[in-house]
């Protein structure tokens, strides 16, 4: 009897609690809905009172939105808690407890991962089809911004950045050292920004967004900005020891200019720049022209494209989907004596099969380009069209023209059709024939390749690259892609896929590193990207 009584009491109590909870929740919801409705009506009435006779738009939370530079409420609201100064141990900070202990300073951590699986075939007799895994332009970094307004410099900030490549897949070397990518210290304000450190050149940045296959084996730097048709795109460069200016955006127009002094002991720029011990100026770290392993200062080792002062400038105009760019870059007194053997320790004249003596010397190299883009909705989704024309020149003498493989014109077109979360892209890149070539290349057979008997300047080195790809955007920050690319070239050409972007390059080389002239390069790659 007692158990029954206790059970009945408990059941009744549970019922009352459950009923109260339901009634309590329902009533609170009612109150909140009423308050919300009152708030909306209040905002609409306020808008009407202030003479705003349009319909009040609302954001996804139902809050009213107006498009005006004048606030519609009569009395300005006070600053909210979110902007109030906070303190950690009595020190005012802008960030939270784990943020920087300096007032008016923010630190942003950011990064990019791009990992791909590649299938490629360089059409070389002893290579065949291979599979590779590559980390492509992956990096991380942090930015520091110190707002100077509270110190009497309204609209100004001191800014700094450190960015480093991450060799996620490859064995890390100094190319992935701290500060290996864009790193700087500078000031930013109403008149733009002036920074010093290292940066991608304005010339490079002007058209970087026009290549939908950046970092893949379809990257346009196989040809664009690439003077020698090899691993390195000299005019798609990140300049060390540089100072540069970036203008603000004036009605869609923006201008930027960069200067990088050669700063070396040599008269012919054949030495390391001050501060760059073991790394030739204008060379890929541990890559093409780097002169790795290190040789001593004064040994004239930097003779594969090392230059003195460099200047780069670009102007861009963007307005309502239309983009136009113009860019120019100059590398003063670029040392190419490695191609003719002069001025090289232990070197001598290089004589081609037809008896001509190679002469390349030290000359200015420059590039200029014009580009345009248009972005519009074609009914399927946003369509982006781009086109670039580029002139690259090495100012050699008439007698040196037969050995000049650095002067050419490049053309690039691309289209990207967005449909929902998918992007379908295609591109075509063309390089014209150069006036000459200093090299002898190899025939694509095991018996003849070691002899290097193909005098390249007797053949065309014009090249065509085709790329097509599909990308799925999981979000703005993560995507999956698949890209296929093919590069065809004349018998005198030695272009590579993946130059200056992909984790490695696919070139027409045999197992003995002989360069096969005119190799057709094919690749397919699929990968994931993640930004933060």
């Amino acid at each position: 009897m007692r158990k029954q009584l206790l059970a009945g009491t408990a059941l009744a109590a549970l019922g009352v609690i459950a009923f109260q909870a339901t009634a309590h929740a329902a009533t609170l919801d009612d109150v909140m809905k009423r308050l919300d409705r009152l708030e909306r009506e209040n905002a609409e009435l306020r808008a009407k009172v202030n003479g705003q006779a349009y319909m009040v738009k609302r954001d996804k939370d139902g809050k009213p939105i107006v498009q005006s530079s004048v606030v519609t409420h009569a009395k300005p609201a006070p600053s909210p808690a979110v902007v109030a100064d906070r303190t950690v141990m009595g020190i005012p900070v802008k960030a939270g407890a784990l943020g920087p202990l300096i007032d008016n300073t923010t630190v942003e951590l950011y990064g990019h991962f791009d990992l791909s699986g590649d299938l490629f075939n360089p059409s070389v007799f002893d290579q065949g089809t291979k599979f590779g895994i590559s980390s492509n332009l992956s990096y991380f970094g942090f930015r520091v911004r110190h707002n100077l307004a509270p110190y009497g410099f309204e609209g100004w900030a001191a800014v700094a950045q450190m960015e480093a490549q991450i060799d996620v897949a490859a064995a890390p070397t100094e190319r992935a050292a701290l500060g290996s990518r864009d790193s700087y210290l500078g000031l930013e304000g109403p008149w733009g920004a002036i920074k010093a450190g290292k940066s991608q050149t304005p010339y490079k940045l002007a058209t970087a967004a026009m290549d939908p296959f950046s970092g893949t084996l379809g990257d346009y730097n196989s040809i664009m900005g690439n003077t020698g048709g090899d691993n390195r795109a000299e005019f798609d460069w990140r300049m060390d020891h540089a100072v540069w200016y970036e203008s603000p955006i004036w009605n869609g127009f923006q201008f930027s200019a960069l200067f990088s002094p050669g700063q070396n002991y040599a008269q012919d720029n054949s030495d390391f720049s001050f501060g760059d011990e073991g790394q030739c100026n204008g060379a890929s770290t541990r890559g093409s022209g780097s002169n790795f392993p290190t040789i001593a200062l004064g040994a004239q080792g930097c003779n594969d494209g090392s230059f003195g002062n460099a200047y780069s400038a670009a102007a861009t105009y963007r307005n309502s989907g239309f983009t136009a760019i113009a860019a120019y870059e100059l590398h003063e007194q670029t040392n190419r004596q490695g191609d003719d053997g002069s001025g090289v320790a232990g070197g001598g004249p290089i004589i081609l099969p037809d008896g001509s003596v190679v002469s390349t010397g030290i000359h200015n190299e420059w590039a200029a380009k014009l580009g345009g883009g248009y972005h519009f909705n074609d009914g399927l989704g946003d369509l982006q069209l781009n086109a670039i024309y580029e002139w690259i020149r090495r100012d050699v003498t008439a007698l040196q023209e037969p050995f000049n493989e650095r002067s050419k014109d490049d053309m690039f077109v691309s289209a990207t059709q967005n449909i929902g979360k998918w992007s379908l892209s295609g591109s075509y890149t063309h390089a014209t024939n150069t006036p000459g070539n200093p090299a002898t290349l190899s025939i694509n057979t095991a018996a003849l390749a070691p002899a290097a008997t193909v005098q390249a300047n007797l053949f065309s080195d014009a090249a065509n690259q085709y790329a097509i790809g599909l990308r799925y955007h999981f979000s703005k920050w993560a995507s999956w892609y698949i890209v296929a690319s093919e590069l065809t070239q004349g018998q005198g050409g030695h272009y590579c896929l993946g130059a200056s972007g992909h984790g490695y390059q696919v070139c027409g080389r045999d197992a003995a590193n002989d360069t096969i002239g005119g190799a057709t390069l094919k690749a397919a790659t699929t990968g994931l990207t993640l930004d933060f």
Binding site: N42, A43, Q67, P76, A77, S79, P80, A149, I249
Partner: protein
């Protein structure tokens, strides 16, 4: 159980706080004209009409991670997520925005 306050209570509240500050209305800013839709951040200078005013600029749905601009004229970076931003003004009646630069992925 009815928790609805009686009408007289609401009337009393209105009388007592006729000028109670309200959350500022977000103002939509179209950034697509000069900034590429693929940009992920934009650096801007926000000018306000008061030394003590503050503006909060944020991408749609990202108000909690918005950028705070304090004072008459300050510069900072705002994260983008599409062609529009919103600005909320605290203590200011007017604002002006000058785009300095933007960053691509």
């Amino acid at each position: 159980m009815d928790m609805t306050p009686p009408p007289a209570y609401i009337a009393q509240a209105d009388v007592d706080q006729p000028d109670a500050p309200v959350e500022p209305t977000p103002i939509k800013i179209d950034v697509a004209k000069y900034i590429p839709d693929t940009a992920i951040t934009v650096t801007m200078i926000v000018t306000l009409d008061s030394d003590t005013a503050t503006a909060l600029v944020y991408a749609p749905g990202d108000e909690k991670h918005g950028t705070v601009f304090k004072g008459r004229r300050s510069i900072d970076v705002v994260r983008l997520d599409g062609p529009a931003l919103y600005i909320k003004l605290y203590g200011a009646a007017k604002y002006d925005i000058q785009y300095i630069t933007y960053r691509m992925p």
